[in-house]
């Protein structure tokens, strides 16, 4: 029934390749998770999944949608459109003589996103089809130098001709990207206006995108790719989101749908720069972790998300998520600020094979994905997957896999593991399957350790959050012996990304490259000029942020602006992103404050002794973030019910293979466990969407926020 004193307020949506998850939260923090098979029509899948979720509360979308205040969407449709090269045919206008740079992909796109071995081997390198075909590319004579000065004035008659040809050839959008346009955008803007004129004269109305209006940042391949995505992939998404929004309005929704963006904020589906939402899925989890950490007082968190195909890791240090300035995605270098994450292609559904030369186990790089493994004959897979091993060893319940939607054939899985793995290795079935799981755990553990120590930290400074469909199954395995302060598994691990989306701020972020350098010999006048330049960039970016918020009806009073900058010691290659200590700058003394903040941060991130103020300081980018208040899910808070699980939570026993022997694991139902309950391994806690494994030597207890704490005893 619908309870009006405790309304449903927040909806997070994670529309993945196989499943569309919805996450509804009431005002008091209680939540339900819904699942549905993903659909070509995303609105359908979202509504089906909503019905599934709300059924837990005996209510319906028609009753709930009108009272909700916020909805955040994250999906993979745009990414799939790019990967499958199914976007709008887009024409590209570049500086004459540079027509080929886009398809040359900075010479790194041929191996971007590959597994380590494939990066090394030239024969696997391959360039994907460019976003704009060379026949849809035109050069226009013009040149701006590296300081922003005009060397060759733009020949607009060439632009006119180029635009006419591209429209005649059937391009559905035109992108303009000239060299160094981030320093001086006059040429791009002039060509943009000419294109618009020509398009109008020809009776067409296709959109025109000048890179300077969208991503005024250095590195032309990155900038061109990103602007192309805006035309190629984001335009079609805009239509899909408009449809989703409309379908929800039809059911009575009054909120505006927001979309998760790569910088960790959410933006309106009406936003001008929708390509920023290309990467969103795994970011939701990191944002959710940050929110949980903030609410519960954890400063340093290692986030780990294990799904069927990949393992994503990210670090939160002192409550801050680190950012990549030029992230890459779908094998394209992009100028999008991206929450920095490390991903490896090994997951709970990875295929397992024997390398015939070394006679050793090999995991992945491909995975069974939604086809599960040999245990699901209908999936049509003949190669053993990690899931098969889990089923054989009693980690997963074959009768309740994904809530019992799939009927599994355990004898078939046993036969396949025996033939493909155990017999060739001369091992027993159980030891072979256990070896596969140990190998996966070991490789995840090594990557987690490497990611933390490579950044100069130690796992003992961190709490590890483990989520994703496979997180709770592997949490013990990949954290064992690493020495984390604690390992935490949220009871809603499977819907954690959708939850995270709902916790993200409504926030726009814009960046602009700058070339500011001040040494100890610089004069006060030079500092003043530096401050003026940065201030002007902030102003320009703030105007763009406000323009976006105005589309959603917000005024300047509603918006909190947070300026930032990227600074480096002159001559070094790496810069650091900093929130500005000042909301506005005007005097040379302000420069010193920016420098002091950087110097202090640098000492903290690396070491005090590594600071090099004698080199002088450079600002490489101006950043502006603008956000407005949004309703976020509350974290549930329930009273302590003592250490003993209630009788209804105990659902039986199952043989479980761990430490080279069969033991009897107690089974519990996750939803029935109460705060304070303490469970000692071997035990398996089951829920529809995930399974939480506690082997011998481990113990777990549930706290009042429905977070499981995993402890090595």
């Amino acid at each position: 029934m619908n309870d009006l004193t405790n309304p449903v307020e927040v909806l997070g949506i994670d529309a993945g390749g196989t499943m569309t998850d919805t996450f509804f939260v009431r005002a008091d923090g209680t939540f339900v998770v819904g699942k549905a098979q993903s659909d070509v029509d995303e609105a359908n899948a979202v509504l089906t999944s909503s019905v599934d979720a709300l059924a837990h509360w005996d209510t319906t979308p028609e009753e709930v949608f009108p009272q909700m205040v916020t909805c955040v969407f994250s999906g993979t449709a745009m990414l799939n459109r790019v990967v499958g090269r199914k976007g709008l045919r887009t024409g590209l206008i570049v500086s004459k003589g540079f027509e080929d740079f886009h398809r040359m992909g900075r010479a790194i796109q041929c191996y971007l996103g590959y597994a380590f071995e494939d990066r090394l081997h030239l024969n696997t390198h391959r360039y994907d089809e460019p976003l704009a075909h060379i026949h849809d590319t035109r050069g226009v004579t013009e040149r701006v130098d590296s300081k922003g000065g005009v060397v060759i004035p733009v020949r607009l008659h060439e632009a006119r001709e180029a635009a006419r040809e591209l429209v005649e050839q059937g391009c559905k959008a035109i992108v303009i990207s000239f060299l160094s346009s981030y320093l001086n955008g006059t040429h791009e803007r002039a060509v943009r206006d000419v294109c618009l004129e020509v398009i109008k004269e020809m009776g067409s109305n296709i959109p025109v995108f000048a890179s300077v209006d969208y991503y005024p940042v250095r590195k032309e391949t990155h900038r061109t790719n990103t602007t192309l995505l805006e035309a190629y992939a984001a335009e079609p998404s805009r239509k899909i989101l408009a449809n989703l929004s409309q379908r929800m309005k039809d059911v009575g929704a009054k909120y505006d749908v927001r979309v998760m963006a790569s910088h960790g904020g959410t933006i309106s589906w009406k936003a001008k720069e929708l390509a920023r939402t290309l990467v969103s899925g795994p970011i939701g989890g990191v944002m959710g972790s940050r929110y949980l950490a903030e609410q519960l007082g954890y400063e340093n968190v290692a986030c780990s998300d294990i799904g069927g195909t990949s393992f994503d890791m990210a670090l939160i240090v002192k409550g801050k998520v680190s950012m990549h300035q030029d992230g890459d995605c779908a094998r394209l270098v992009l100028s999008l600020p991206l929450v920095s994450m490390d991903t490896i292609g090994a997951g709970a559904g990875s295929f397992v094979r024997i390398d015939p030369y070394s006679n050793s186990l090999k995991l992945g790089p491909d995975s069974a994905g939604y086809r599960v493994g040999t245990c699901w004959p209908a999936g049509g897979v003949d190669t053993v997957s990690v899931t098969d091993c889990h089923i054989i060893l009693g980690y997963l319940n074959p009768d309740n896999f994904l809530g019992g939607i799939l009927e599994l054939d355990v004898p078939r899985a046993k036969q396949c593991v025996k033939e493909q793995i155990a017999d060739p290795l001369g091992m027993s079935l159980e030891d072979a399957a256990a070896g596969v799981i140990e190998l996966l755990d070991l490789s995840l553990r090594q990557h987690l350790r490497a990611m933390i120590s490579a950044k100069g930290y130690s796992p003992s400074d961190f709490v590890c959050f483990s989520y994703g469909g496979g997180g709770p199954v592997h949490a013990y395995g990949y954290t064992m012996g690493l020495g984390f302060k604690e390992t935490i598994v949220p009871a809603w691990a499977a819907g954690f990304s959708a939850f995270g989306c709902a916790t993200a701020d409504f926030e726009y972020r814009y960046d602009k490259s700058t070339d500011i350098g001040i040494t100890k010999d610089s004069t006060t006048a030079e500092k003043q000029e530096a401050v003026n330049t940065l201030g002007a960039c902030w102003k320009e970016l703030a105007d763009k942020v406000m323009e976006e918020f105005k589309i959603n009806g917000f005024t300047e009073d509603d918006v909190t602006l947070t300026p930032g900058y990227r600074m480096q010691y002159l001559g070094q290659l790496n810069d650091l992103e900093m929130s500005s200590p000042l909301s506005d700058i005007g005097s040379p003394e302000d420069w010193d404050k920016l420098v002091a903040t950087f110097d202090e941060t640098y000492g903290r991130v690396y070491a005090d002794a590594a600071r090099s103020p004698e080199l002088g300081f450079g600002v490489t980018a101006a950043i502006m973030r603008g956000s407005v208040e949004t309703k976020k899910p509350s974290i549930p808070s329930e009273p302590d019910a003592g250490p003993n699980p209630p009788a209804e939570a105990v659902i039986g026993e199952r043989p479980f293979y761990y430490g080279r022997k069969w033991v009897t694991a107690k089974l519990y139902k996750m939803e029935s466990l109460l705060p304070g309950n303490r469970i000692t391994g071997p035990a398996v806690i089951e829920s529809d969407a995930t399974t939480y494994v506690i082997p011998t030597g481990f113990e777990t207890w549930l706290d009042g926020h429905r977070l499981f704490h995993l402890i090595e005893v």
Partner: protein, 166 residues
């Protein structure tokens, strides 16, 4: 280990196999059935009955002659280039592009090599006229002997009985 269908191997030979599968084939250890499937596909593309042992070019194979079990090199059309241990190119028709005019037929002017430094030698089948190879050496360089397979070891690797006259 991965396994592939004969259709996939056939598409691989034709160059029409999807990239994802090609990538997997490149990255993974070679599947046991590959040699057998590959030879079957090649055999179906030729009109002769001599058993193909190995390919040395898109239309050129090392075969076991059904007449006398000698191991020879043979064009898809059936033309024989002699014993596999000898350079088959010496039995081919050779066309040498060694002046500006001949180069102009394949590359625009000024985009071709200077023929005092580099020439193109094209090797054709005397029977069907198909081009089997092109070399781009300096003009004085001898005819290149591209491949001399050690078939005995090769069949040991394959763990298969080798043809009698290897």
């Amino acid at each position: 280990m991965s396994t592939y269908t004969k259709k996939q191997v056939s598409d691989l030979v034709k160059g029409t196999l999807d990239w994802d599968t090609v990538h997997l084939m490149l990255s993974m250890p070679k599947d046991e059935a590959r040699y057998k499937l590959y030879m079957e596909v090649l055999q179906e593309n030729v009109s002769y009955d001599d058993k193909i042992i190995l390919a040395v070019g898109p239309h050129l194979n090392i075969v076991e002659s059904s007449k006398d079990q000698e191991i020879i090199i043979k064009c898809d059309c059936g033309h024989e280039f002699g014993h596999y241990s000898k350079n088959w190119k010496l039995n081919a028709l050779i066309y040498v592009r060694d002046n500006v005019e001949k180069m102009k037929e394949v590359y625009p002017e000024l985009m071709a090599p200077d023929t005092n430094w580099q020439v193109y030698r094209e090797y054709y089948c005397p029977s069907c006229g198909i081009m089997h190879d092109v070399e781009a050496p300096t003009p004085w360089y001898p005819v290149m002997h591209d491949i001399q397979p050690d078939l005995k070891t090769f069949f040991e690797w394959l763990d298969m009985p080798a043809p009698a006259k290897i």
